[in-house]
């Protein structure tokens, strides 16, 4: 019995240790990033353009580029994803088509991001002739975000109580009216928080935009959808691997990384907090 008790205590300690090690590593990571990044972070860093072959200056064009890419991606993926989820939950016939769709969604979700990048390059940039551009990158990221948005919307729709749907149909509403007037408004908070979470994911992706949208260095802001852009994630990568003055460029990379990290964490935290509020306020 003593031995069993000892074993029990020991295993608890080991399990706690796993959590502790993970936490310590992540805390080291975050503290390091904040410490190094905050040394260069300033208002000027955010709002000025890179200077002196990226050894000085700020990240304004990269901020704008990431913003454009993300907005474009979500603008494409959200309507498409929501409509697909509606088909899945309300129309979904025949059954074999649902199965194919599910395989497609799961495969999309599991496909490595670099493959999206290659696809975007081969199809959008080369075959469709969009060149390396915001548009090509935004579309590539949209396909990457699509499975996330579909899965999340489907889940949001499925949590709408069946009673609401039934009540609406019993009042003579058609399926479309029931979806647009009862199901979607009820599921909207959850659909939106999911969309915000996908923004966080899209904004941080590097591999998909490497060959479709991002450029190493640009002093001016894009003027049209066919321009190439700087983007925060790619900027970090470029500074770390292709720079010629590491002593000056690594600190800038840290600053950029901190900005990206803060953006992604803030956006995701907002979504998670909103979801928590909605769940608590939920009246049904």
């Amino acid at each position: 019995m003593r031995r069993r008790k000892l074993k029990n205590t020991l295993s608890t300690v080991i399990l706690g240790f796993a959590l502790l090690v993970t936490a310590l590593f992540l805390i080291t990571f975050l503290v390091h990033m904040f410490y190094k990044g905050s040394m260069v972070l300033s208002w000027e860093f955010l709002t000025s353009v890179p200077r002196n072959s990226m050894t000085e200056g700020g990240i304004w064009p990269a901020l704008v580029g990431t913003f454009l890419l993300t907005v474009l991606a979500v603008a494409f993926a959200l309507p498409l994803g929501v409509m697909t989820a509606i088909w899945l939950t309300h129309y979904g016939k025949p059954a074999w088509l649902i199965s194919i769709l599910r395989v497609a969604i799961n495969s999309l979700a599991g496909t490595p991001s670099i493959i999206f990048g290659l696809f975007g390059m081969a199809v959008f940039v080369n075959i469709m002739g969009m060149d390396v551009s915001v548009l090509a990158g935004g579309l590539t990221l949209a396909i990457l975000a699509l499975p996330v948005i579909i899965n999340n919307t489907e889940e949001a729709i499925r949590t709408v109580p069946h009673e609401f749907t039934e009540a609406s149909l019993a009042l003579g509403a058609t399926t479309r009216q029931t979806i647009t007037r009862v199901v979607l408004p009820t599921a909207l908070p959850n659909i939106l928080t999911g969309a915000i979470l996908s923004i966080g994911r899209v904004a941080g992706e590097t591999a998909p935009i490497m060959f479709t949208a991002a450029t190493f260095y640009s002093r001016k802001l894009p003027t049209s959808l066919t321009d190439e852009v700087m983007a925060l994630p790619y900027h970090i990568y470029a500074l770390m691997t292709e720079g010629t003055h590491p002593d000056k460029q690594v600190p800038i990379a840290y600053g950029t990384a901190l900005v990206l990290l803060l953006m992604v964490l803030l956006v995701s935290a907002t979504a998670i907090y909103l979801r928590y509020l909605f769940r608590r306020k939920k009246q049904w």
């Binding site: 039934e166 009540a167 009042l171 003579g172």
Partner: protein, 252 residues
């Protein structure tokens, strides 16, 4: 002989391979309350849901026979399900208001029928809430969420919501089983008032409730309509042994 408002002829229903209703012939008379009673799983709720085609929503449902609303066969090919459902209101077991305002709940049925003038809409909402005896309780907070109402109020709101469509028939599926006794009494009284303008078909588990409010009673058992008669008569001299057993509480 009065012409029935609702009628089934040789109605059979299957869920997949499960034969749920057998050759049901039922008549529901205008401006009367008809109660359907019977043990759980006897098919009374399923039968109720045939009258506004809500069973269509369940996959692999198959129906033979006729269901008539007035003279119209509601299962006829090409008939407009939405119009039928608007004409045959339904109230469910658990109050199920939408997570919208009180006003918008009642207005819902009217808004989906197409464009309607705001003044007319407001008038119809008020009428319906008055008819469901809810107006006095909610007239000052029409824009509040319907979820803030009590269970009994929510159920009367659902009745008002159905009445706004000016249905010919109101189907009630155990409308008081989730309510406290006081709210139950109120809904029962309301039924007696409403039958002046609308035909009521109510499914209930509660034999006493059927006795209190219904003019006619249908007793169902294992998918068969065993007996249908004036409530008074059935409750005093039931024709079938199974009816008698159920009414006296031998099973149920």
């Amino acid at each position: 002989m009065v012409k029935p408002q609702l009628q089934t002829r040789k109605l059979n229903l299957w869920f997949g391979k499960n034969h749920v209703l057998h050759d049901v012939d039922l008549s529901v008379y205008s401006q009367k309350v008809t109660a359907m009673i019977g043990p759980s799983g006897c098919g009374k709720s399923t039968l109720l849901r045939c009258f506004n085609r809500m069973n269509d929503l369940i996959p692999e449902t198959r129906i033979t026979g006729d269901v008539l609303l007035g003279d119209e066969d509601i299962y006829k090919n090409g008939s407009d399900v939405s119009r039928i459902r608007a004409a045959v209101g339904m109230v469910f077991q658990k109050p199920n208001p939408f997570p919208k305002s009180i006003f918008n709940n009642v207005a819902y049925g009217l808004q989906i029928q197409g464009k309607i003038r705001r003044s007319e809409l407001e008038e119809r909402v008020e009428q319906s809430l008055k008819a469901a005896w809810l107006w006095e309780e909610v007239k000052d907070r029409l824009n509040q969420s319907a979820m803030s109402l009590s269970g009994g109020q929510q159920q009367r709101l659902c009745i008002a919501r159905a009445l706004a469509n000016r249905p010919k028939v109101l189907l009630l599926d155990e409308p008081t089983s989730a309510l406290d006794p006081q709210s139950t009494a109120k809904v029962e009284e309301l039924c007696l008032e409403l039958k002046k303008s609308v035909t009521i078909l109510i499914v209930t588990h509660n034999v006493a409730q059927a006795g209190r409010i219904s003019d006619y009673t249908a007793f169902m058992y294992l998918g068969d309509l065993v007996e249908f008669d004036k409530t008074e008569k059935m409750f005093t001299v039931p024709a079938d042994k199974r009816t008698e057993a159920y009414l006296t509480g031998v099973f149920g």
